[in-house]
């Protein structure tokens, strides 16, 4: 099997899915539910994701040449595997819609008052179509190049906000009820459920030494950046946090040192747009991947064009409002997304454990049953 992604590319994809689309409306949305305790909700979510990434890395090393399909189908059958892919296809379809509307509103609010949906969506879908056609190799390589700009952009944003920090606004903590906390935990699953992406790359990775630690290190680095950003955001805006829907650009607007010279929130738009574009590309690729398997279609220019054309048409024709989509993704289906996100990690872990136990039993049989092969 052709190995499509290097270890570094997988690490960069993990960093992308950890950072992208969490730094726009999510901080304000979470503050509405649990106040400053949102930081702890994020911490818990990221710890859960850490476990999932660890499982992924472990499975990837234990089954280096097996794809997700190779691992799951013998145990759950093609029908249920297809059903799971369908669910994830729908999940990523909704997630793409969420990322697209967030991105569009972000651009319109920050730099582009006259931006129309057509002007935003058509070029985005065309570029995404090109990447889907070219495949995950191209997505991985492009992301590997751009991720440095994205990470350094977030880091620089955090640095620029330091003069405006009011750390006392972070206190008191743990004032939310357990109910609010749990609800917030499940509501935000649509923003956190990206880790499934990497499971589809099982069996397609050129693994190098210390693969597990490389994966964990990359994830931890980006997760820490996200946690610090949330803390910085709440420390800057305090109780007015829910009013700032575009966290990444709003958070630097108060920086007095540079704001007199230039509107510095523009640079955040530039680097964060890269993150959003890559995120949309990756998610659309996932939708296409799931559909391709379910409908047994070929990966050709025509099929990709039809797929992209239909999605672009849906995006442009369907009546929606940003608020409706956000409410739907958080309150209506948030809990189900949470469950869905755990299915693959749990299933794979169970299969791995069962398989290991079976292998141990077989080894025992070989020794005690006298069937041990001669050396």
């Amino acid at each position: 099997m052709k190995k499509l992604l290097t270890t570094n590319q997988i690490c960069c994809l993990i960093m992308l899915v950890t950072i992208s689309n969490k730094l726009l409306v999510l901080p304000a949305l979470m503050y509405q539910n649990v106040g400053v305790d949102a930081i702890w909700v994020v911490v818990l979510k990221l710890i859960l994701a850490l476990v999932v990434f660890w499982v992924f890395a472990l499975i990837a090393t234990k089954f280096p040449n097996k794809t997700l399909e190779d691992i799951l189908v013998p145990y759950i059958g093609k029908f249920f595997y297809g059903l799971l892919l369908l669910l994830f296809g729908v999940f990523y379809f909704l997630k793409t819609a969420l990322t697209l509307v967030e991105g569009e509103m972000f651009l319109r609010e920050t730099i582009y008052v006259d931006l129309t949906s057509e002007l935003y969506a058509i070029p985005t879908f065309v570029v995404a179509g090109y990447f889907i056609y070219k495949g995950i190799n191209t997505i991985g390589r492009t992301n590997e190049t751009l991720i440095k700009i994205i990470l350094w952009g977030v880091f620089l944003t955090i640095l620029l906000t330091l003069p405006n920090l009011q750390l006392e606004t972070l206190l008191p903590m743990f004032t939310s009820s357990a109910d609010d906390f749990t609800r917030a935990f499940s509501y935000i699953s649509m923003w956190f459920g990206n880790y499934f992406v990497i499971f589809l790359f099982l069996g397609k990775i050129q693994m190098r030494e210390h693969f597990i630690s490389q994966v964990i290190k990359s994830y931890v680095k980006s997760a820490i950046l996200v946690i610090i950003f949330f803390a910085v955001y709440y420390a800057v805006f305090g109780t007015s946090s829910p009013m700032h829907n575009y966290a990444i650009s709003d958070v630097v607007t108060l920086t007095p040192q540079l704001s007199s010279l230039i509107k510095i929130d523009w640079f955040t738009v530039i680097f964060y747009s890269f993150a959003l574009i890559m995120q949309v590309i990756l998610q659309l690729y996932m939708v296409f991947y799931c559909l391709k398997w379910i409908l047994k279609i070929q990966h050709t220019k025509l099929t990709v064009s039809i797929f992209i054309g239909l999605l672009a048409l849906m995006y442009l024709i369907m009546p929606y409002s940003v608020q409706h989509i956000i409410t739907f993704c958080s309150e209506t289906i948030g809990f189900y997304c949470f469950l869905l996100n755990l299915i693959f990690p749990i299933l794979i872990t169970i299969i791995y454990l069962v398989k290991r136990k079976l292998e141990k039993n077989r080894e025992g049989e070989k020794v005690y049953g006298g069937t041990l092969e001669k050396e």
């Binding site: 290097t6 651009l107 582009y112 070029p123 390589r141 492009t142 590997e144 509107k263």
Partner: protein
């Protein structure tokens, strides 16, 4: 062919002359050798008559007797009588013609089937000078010329190793151009060498006039605007590329040598980087990178700022720009496109014009056209400044100037139609496109992506040469070790 077998000298010479259309510069001279009639046939302009006279005619005329057996006669003549650089025998008339066309002299003896060929090629070539496309402040200044033999010798002189291998071939049905593939057998990857040689041998074209003719046959993505083959005019660069495990292709008549595999980062490298301090080289490479960024993005960003996002421009600048652009007949997009067109026309004209007219051209372009257009209110000073800066920075990486000009145009259109988001999408697309390219198995964007840590030492941040212990890993080679050990002997006690 029948005559050739019989050894009929006159008939053979006549056939040969006819086949070569009785060309006026084709000379056939008859003389006697030990009572046997003989002819020499050669092309007047390609051969050196003193060589023919000194090494062929004089020794033959001095002969007192000759062996009667044909084989013995040929051996005797080629080994003991005829002197010169290269003496060989041929039987086929077509081969005779081919060699005559290469500047060799044909000797035809009466009733002797085998013909003798003497190399008497006349070399008219220019002196070895510093190539105009890659002048340096430090480092070797000699550049390749149009003679393949001289070019090969320049590299051979630098690589005194028996592992230096050269494969020769002729390409072009009419031109029969000599092409040489050079590589180090103990370093270059066999598969790459075989593939290159195979591709070259499969070329069936009427003629090869310059090495650029081969580029499209060799590069894997033929319709890409980005070249996937390195070109250089300097033997020191070819030597260093061979030492990295690359393959060099020399073409007779061209001072440009092709190198393969070629990766995008080679565009940022200059031979001078290795002859100066590595910190300075790093700084210069960052400048080149910045230059590329400014060259392709600046006009596009300027147009998008003017059209959609003037809020980003600080107020004082905005007022200045607004005053300058007030009352212009064009929109910012057309204004920038117009200036770019003017620049490209001036550039094209100045390249083709005789040198002594260059100064006049600059005056016409800069003063008359530029200044007058601004004063007449056709274009604005900020737009002229932006295009001038962008055009200047295009030449920080001169090898990429053609591609950068096209990309700049693309980004201007994106910025004009979609705004800054269009420019960002363009960047993502460009990186995506570049990452799909490869050159003989080497990813075009390596070592940036896929990341190859070892090769990052010679990327934008250049390390000391002592740290580059391994050869590039971005493309395959047989021997990864470059630097075996560094003895750290201090010369002072301090």
């Amino acid at each position: 062919m029948e005559e050739m077998q019989k050894g009929n000298r006159l008939q053979f010479v006549q056939d040969l002359m006819e086949k070569m259309q009785n060309s006026k510069d084709l000379i056939s001279r008859e003389f006697m050798v030990c009572g046997k009639r003989a002819n020499i046939v050669f092309l007047q302009d390609l051969t050196s008559y003193p060589i023919i006279s000194e090494y062929l005619i004089k020794p033959l005329l001095k002969l007192q007797e000759m062996p009667s057996n044909e084989n013995e006669l040929i051996t005797y003549l080629t080994k003991d009588v005829i002197q010169g650089r290269e003496v060989q025998t041929v039987n086929e008339i077509d081969e005779c013609i081919f060699l005559i066309l290469k500047g060799k002299v044909l000797l035809v003896l009466e009733n002797v089937q085998t013909k003798i060929i003497l190399d008497a090629t006349k070399f008219n070539m220019r002196a070895i000078t510093e190539p105009p496309t890659s002048s340096v402040l430090q480092g070797p200044r000699e550049g390749f010329i149009e003679s393949i033999k001289t070019n090969l010798s320049m590299v051979r002189r630098r690589l005194s190793t028996p592992n230096l291998s050269i494969e020769n071939m002729e390409i072009g049905r009419h031109t029969k151009t000599s092409v040489s593939v050079m590589y180090l057998t103990n370093i270059a990857d066999d598969k790459i060498v075989k593939l290159i040689v195979k591709k070259l041998k499969s070329i069936d074209i009427d003629g090869i006039v310059d090495s650029y003719y081969l580029v499209n046959f060799l590069q894997e993505h033929k319709n890409s605007i980005f070249r996937q083959i390195g070109t250089t005019e300097k033997p020191d660069i070819v030597t260093s590329k061979l030492l990295e495990g690359r393959v060099a292709i020399f073409v007779d008549g061209s001072p440009i040598v092709l190198t393969l595999p070629f990766l995008v980062y080679e565009n940022f490298q200059s031979s001078e980087d290795y002859y100066s301090n590595h910190y300075h080289s790093t700084f210069v490479r960052w400048l080149r990178l910045l230059g590329i960024g400014l060259a392709i993005l600046l006009p596009g960003v300027y147009v998008s700022l003017q059209l959609y996002h003037y809020g980003i421009i600080p107020l004082k600048f905005l007022v200045t720009i607004a005053n300058s652009t007030d009352g212009l007949p064009f929109t910012p997009l057309f204004e920038v496109l117009f200036i770019m067109l003017l620049f490209e026309l001036l550039n094209e004209a100045s390249l083709r014009m005789p040198k002594y007219l260059g100064m006049a051209m600059s005056i016409v372009g800069a003063l008359i056209l530029g200044d007058t257009a601004v004063k007449a209110g056709v274009i604005s000073p900020p737009a002229v400044m932006i295009i001038a800066l962008s055009s200047m920075t295009i030449f920080t990486v001169a090898d990429l100037s053609n591609q950068l000009s096209l990309l700049r145009l693309g980004f201007v259109l994106l910025g004009g139609m979609i705004g800054i988001y269009g420019v960002l999408l363009g960047i993502v697309f460009l990186i995506g496109y570049l990452s799909t390219l490869d050159s003989y198995g080497a990813p075009y964007l390596a070592p940036m992506t896929p990341k190859v840590n070892q090769d990052m030492k010679d990327f934008v941040n250049m390390k000391n040469i002592l740290d580059m212990k391994k050869r590039p890993k971005s493309f395959p080679n047989k021997n990864p070790t470059r630097l075996k050990a560094v003895k750290n002997e201090k010369t002072s006690n301090n």
